[in-house]
């Protein structure tokens, strides 16, 4: 392993400081006894108490997480299969067309996607709510999965697959033993970016939701006019802390295990 010099460490530290600055900023204000993200009055935990007192907000948060995880999972499966299929296409023109089609939802602004999905769902007669939101999130997350998986597919030379086939591996074995392990980093990247898409989305969800189903983004954007309450900051603070704990915890548990078994 090449040594990492101090310059690199400083650079990376800077990147992380910038990435986390706004998050710490908004968590800082979640302890503000005032009622907005401006002039800090005094320290309080009231906003955290409000989070737990407001079961509606907690339900919305949980809904948001379920939609994000499920949609990212399904989008990753469909997107990965799509990327594998695209890579095996021989016709270059067709391939480029499919890839262009793939990117249409990425280039289209959310309002357009939201409005056209709404028209689509009401035409087909899907009840607006959890299902319509889930379907939409799957739909707009698929392209980013394809973009993340495709480079790994391209890297993997066809000779590798051919060799495996020559050695008598079945197509299923090639898929599970050769292709999937190789493109796994791409799959995880796709999954995490799909999560990001889903958690960030406001406009599409707004249009296709209904019957009491709501996500955190819709809730936060609609607060903008009368002022976003610091309860939302507190909630984000909790979400952030829990995510960090889960990731760090999971990471240390698994790396320890691996070390214990293998070394």
């Amino acid at each position: 392993m090449t040594k990492i010099n101090t310059g690199s460490k400083v650079y990376l530290a800077l990147v992380f400081i910038v990435l986390y600055a706004p998050i710490f900023f908004l968590i800082f204000y979640s302890f503000n006894s005032g009622d907005s993200m401006t002039n800090f009055k005094s320290f309080t935990l009231d906003h955290y108490k409000d989070v737990f007192a407001d079961s509606r907000l907690v339900v919305i948060l949980l809904n948001t997480v379920v939609v994000a995880l499920l949609s990212a999972l399904i989008a990753t499966i469909i997107g990965t299969m799509g990327a594998i299929g695209i890579q095996t296409m021989r016709n270059r023109k067709l391939r480029n067309t499919v890839l262009s089609l793939n990117n249409i939802l990425i280039v289209s602004p959310d309002v357009i996607i939201g409005a056209s999905f709404l028209i689509l769902f009401t035409m087909v007669g899907i009840k607006l709510g959890f299902i319509s939101v889930l379907l939409s999130h799957i739909a707009f997350s698929i392209p980013i999965v394809v973009i993340m998986v495709l480079p790994k597919m391209q890297e993997m030379s066809n000779t590798l697959i051919d060799a495996a086939l020559d050695l008598g591996a079945s197509k299923k074995e090639v898929l599970t033993r050769v292709i999937l392990p190789y493109i796994q980093p791409g799959i995880f990247a796709g999954f995490f970016m799909a999560l990001t898409y889903s958690l960030d989305d406001f406009a599409v969800t707004f249009f296709v939701t209904g019957n009491g189903f709501s996500t955190l983004s819709v809730e936060i954007y609609s607060m903008a006019r009368a002022g976003v309450s610091l309860t939302v900051n507190a909630l984000s603070g909790i979400v952030f802390a829990v995510t960090m704990l889960l990731v760090l915890g999971y990471y240390f548990v698994t790396t320890r295990k691996v070390k214990g078994v293998r070394k």
Partner: protein, 358 residues
């Protein structure tokens, strides 16, 4: 491969657990929903305690959904697939909803508390005889400013003071064509409902002369910026101005003498309603003086409920910034729906002005 399968199973298990949790927390779905009322409103625009009180008093379950713009709300109601029983749009939207036949008439006999509303706010042009709508909050458009930050002693009793050279690069405007164009029209003593193209062009030319003074054209984040002292003056709505003044005592608010806009948010019953009876109960409940006062206190906007005024802090109701005098009110005008074509023209001219900022 094993990793992938494990990951899939883990996610599925987590989702199932969370959904179970949601179901046990979410009373509306667990009770099977006998009597349900769906309210569609802006976020943070009602005291949640009132919703609980309403549920207790009537036994009706309230589902509260939120929107962030009138136009997006119309699209949702228009497209169907939803069943909102109460919506709270602004007045110009109500005219559009009436035209599109999206509203049910309000039965006044079921709303005895209607008598509490100030007559000045009833029977207005956008909804004669309040056939479809009942006022919820009201306000004005004006200038919020920070006297301590001004380089020159301005009091904004006239719109023209925004053009003062001492404000170079300091003025914030709301990103809304009607408000900004209306301000320019008003400053020339023209009607903010003008449909005359020469007048509109004149107003645009005057706006373009304002562009050296414009710091930014923004949305709701104007609240945060003014409180933080990022700019000394902003064109905004009285409701937001009230929020700002609450957070920063240096700020004050003025409605210029040439006149300005008077706006309303109103309760309506969309055609998609499945609980018309409950909707009337809700409207009547919100018009109860005590409830209206509690709501006004929570939201911080001006209430049209004259019986509720008696229950509010006298300092607030005698503050002309929140409750302007009859004299000022004379010069205030409600927006008329000018039709899509004219609104398009307003927006195009406004876009031309915004492009001149670059």
């Amino acid at each position: 491969m094993k990793n992938l399968v494990k990951a899939i199973i883990a996610i599925a298990v987590v989702c199932a657990a969370l959904m179970y949790l949601v179901n046990s927390l979410d009373k509306t779905s667990s009770q099977g929903g006998t009597d349900i009322l769906t309210v569609y409103n802006w976020g943070e625009y009602i005291d949640p305690a009132l919703l609980k009180k309403f549920e207790k008093e009537t036994g009706i379950q309230v589902i509260y959904e939120t929107f962030d713009s009138n136009e997006a709300m119309i699209t949702k109601v228009d497209q169907g697939g939803t069943n909102y029983d109460i919506a709270i749009p602004s007045e110009y939207t109500i005219e559009q909803m009436k035209q599109k036949d999206l509203l049910l008439p309000v039965d006044h006999s079921k709303i005895p508390n209607l008598k509490n509303i100030d007559e000045d706010f009833l029977d207005l042009d956008f909804d004669k005889k309040n056939e479809y709508s009942i006022p919820y909050f009201w306000g004005t458009v004006g200038i919020v400013y920070n006297p301590k930050m001004l380089k020159k002693d301005l009091d904004f009793t006239s719109w023209d003071q925004l053009w003062d050279p001492s404000l170079k690069g300091e003025v914030l405007l709301v990103d809304s064509a009607r408000e900004v164009m209306g301000m320019s029209l008003n400053s020339m003593n023209l009607s903010l409902n003008s449909t005359d193209s020469t007048e509109l062009n004149k107003a645009t030319d005057k706006l373009i002369k304002l562009s050296p003074n414009v710091k930014a054209v923004i949305g709701d984040e104007v609240t945060q910026l003014m409180v933080n002292g990022d700019a000394p003056a902003a064109l905004t709505w009285s409701g937001q101005a009230a929020d700002m003044m609450y957070d920063n005592e240096d700020l004050t608010y003025s409605v210029p003498n040439e006149g300005s806009n008077l706006w309303f948010d109103n309760m309506v019953i969309p055609k998609t309603s499945k609980n018309v009876e409950g909707a009337h109960k809700f409207i009547n409940f919100m018009l109860d003086p005590e409830n209206a006062a509690q709501n006004a206190d929570y939201v911080g906007y001006s209430t049209p409920n004259k019986a509720a005024l008696k229950l509010l802090d006298p300092e607030v109701i005698h503050d002309e910034r929140y409750y302007p005098s009859a004299e000022v009110r004379k010069n205030l005008h409600v927006y008329k729906d000018l039709g899509k074509e004219k609104i398009g023209e307003y927006n195009e001219l406004f876009l031309k002005f915004k492009m001149s900022l670059q």
